[in-house]
Symmetry: none
Subunit: 193 residues, 4 copies
Amino acid sequence: MEIPQEKKKLIIGSALELINCHGFHGCPMSQVAKNAGVAAGTIYTYFENKEDMIYAIHDEVMDQIYEHVALKDDPLRPFEERFFTFWDNLLRFYEQNRAVQSFIDQFASSPFNSDDFQSKSKKWFSWTSEFFKSGIEEGAIKDMNPVILKVLVNESANSLAKVKKNYANKLSKNHIDLSPIPYMIWDGIKAVN
Amino acid sequence: MEIPQEKKKLIIGSALELINCHGFHGCPMSQVAKNAGVAAGTIYTYFENKEDMIYAIHDEVMDQIYEHVALKDDPLRPFEERFFTFWDNLLRFYEQNRAVQSFIDQFASSPFNSDDFQSKSKKWFSWTSEFFKSGIEEGAIKDMNPVILKVLVNESANSLAKVKKNYANKLSKNHIDLSPIPYMIWDGIKAVN
Amino acid sequence: MEIPQEKKKLIIGSALELINCHGFHGCPMSQVAKNAGVAAGTIYTYFENKEDMIYAIHDEVMDQIYEHVALKDDPLRPFEERFFTFWDNLLRFYEQNRAVQSFIDQFASSPFNSDDFQSKSKKWFSWTSEFFKSGIEEGAIKDMNPVILKVLVNESANSLAKVKKNYANKLSKNHIDLSPIPYMIWDGIKAVN
Amino acid sequence: MEIPQEKKKLIIGSALELINCHGFHGCPMSQVAKNAGVAAGTIYTYFENKEDMIYAIHDEVMDQIYEHVALKDDPLRPFEERFFTFWDNLLRFYEQNRAVQSFIDQFASSPFNSDDFQSKSKKWFSWTSEFFKSGIEEGAIKDMNPVILKVLVNESANSLAKVKKNYANKLSKNHIDLSPIPYMIWDGIKAVN
DNA sequence: GATGAATGAGCATTCATTCAT
DNA sequence: CATGAATGAATGCTCATTCAT
């Protein structure tokens, strides 16, 4: 019989929220447990230890992005359209899942993200590479290494999401409109004919 | 009487190195002290507490960037040239100061970088705003809010530096050339005439 | 209705092995269960709690010694012969049941073996007392309190078994022959005529 | 400047007492600290971890035995006399240091005392070997391997001390006199002329 | 100012035991 | 009877900070 994964979700949710608010620092297992409504020991039924939990959260989160972005892509549409849909979905996902965004951000710059680290769940990783590859093959974007493109675009989207989050107040006070940014990115990568 | 600042530098250097290798987690004050060659208690002569030390490091680091990028800018050159010099100097600085880059990265995504946080040292912050403002005034770049530009470009440079660091092996194995990236960025922001 | 005792044996065997390898410390109930091939909760069908289990193992083990030593004694033989048979059987049992020997050893020096402790199974205890008593009555050994004799001889045998186990390598490397020891013990207790 | 070793002694004393009363189990570091009158963290100034502390206690205790037995030996006396002095001093030491005796006992049968374990302090170990060697050379005791003799005698003394401690009540109730035991041991090892 | 031993709250993790299935 | 997920008190250990020297 399978262990029901309901509590695992609760624990992951609790940890994401704590990491969002207080960073990896301010995320003691006892708090994670309390906010998840389980006992401290219960976490260790689902994860070997804290590190393992963090990695599991990372995988979970990558799967979520895959679902909210990759699965909404329509490969039959022109690549330019697909690009802006991609961009919109990614940013919407981040905006609606601030804790996830924050986690990804902190994870990326933390020692968890070492050279050795290989996510178990490669769906998102593989998909984005393929996505940009198809854009090149279609002749829509410059013939660059798809890995550069992928990294460039992802980082840009991440950065934009981060900026939107961190400077929310300043931006609205100064009537700053960030909507041109994806067009600037597109201008940067689109094929020159 | 001034406190001699030599030990302060040693402490900051030691902390930067530890944070680079092991993250904020792996940076206990006792280690910072040991690697700096001072006693644990000595740190508290120069900093009120750990948080204060982290913020002080941030200021120190911002000043270093200012020195290596802003002070090398020649406002008399055409803005396009200034832009690429800016980009080069920033990336070179990051490449030659990995620990600094790592610190900035982790700091930015950490709860230290809260809404309330205001760096005491605003030299770098102010300068970059002015830099892009002058580019707009000169008519070299689009008439966007300089804050967006500044953030966009900074984040791009940070991302690129991060990518260069994290994917160093993969990049060289696959003969991936990242040099076109600043030109793409420039294409994105330059004025359309 | 009787609880089938098969699982009880499995649990005791598992616990003995763990205590042998890792001491009382390294013997968590969950491991005991796993190695016994039963669920953690099942142990509590057979034993009230861990302490109860330890005491039950002690009783079980005492019964095993009784079987392998007392039941092989022939009261009709001369006492000297019985003594050496006793000694041989005891040592052979220990050698062939290292986990048991280790358990007895650790139990004896542990707080489990408190003043209050009285084994439920007194077969072995009673029999050894009787054994030495008969040796005295027969005039074969000194007229000492049989309890002293019993303790003295038992401890000597235990010690010898322990030494054989712990110094196995050193003993064989140095060609050390331990066979004279029982004769020395016998010399010590035999009656002076 | 040296760390004063006074607190180290307090900690060792506290641990010995707790192990005596409650075994390795019932010896949590927090209790050790409390009974020693120091903070929990202080223990880790003197010992790397609990295991290290246990081994350090073992060394300390071996040194104490050396002092109370070896240093009181007079090599100029006849070996028989030296033997009984040795025996008396060892037993007196155990009787006056119950916690030490209990520690040695439990340590010996614990997994701490593994094959790899080598006490840092070999004074007592070396001295006893030499002691029995000189007895053989003098022709006072049988020409056996001194290691056997040493182990045999030590174990006998340990056993006797243990018996005296554990059966104190029973022994006095039954007017049991244990004083003949060393003579029995001596009879067992003395040279046959 | 500098030192580093001492502190003790806080953390990750373990494990005996329970109980719903 | 058997199961094993859940519990939460207890444990070993860390580390920011203090303060007597």
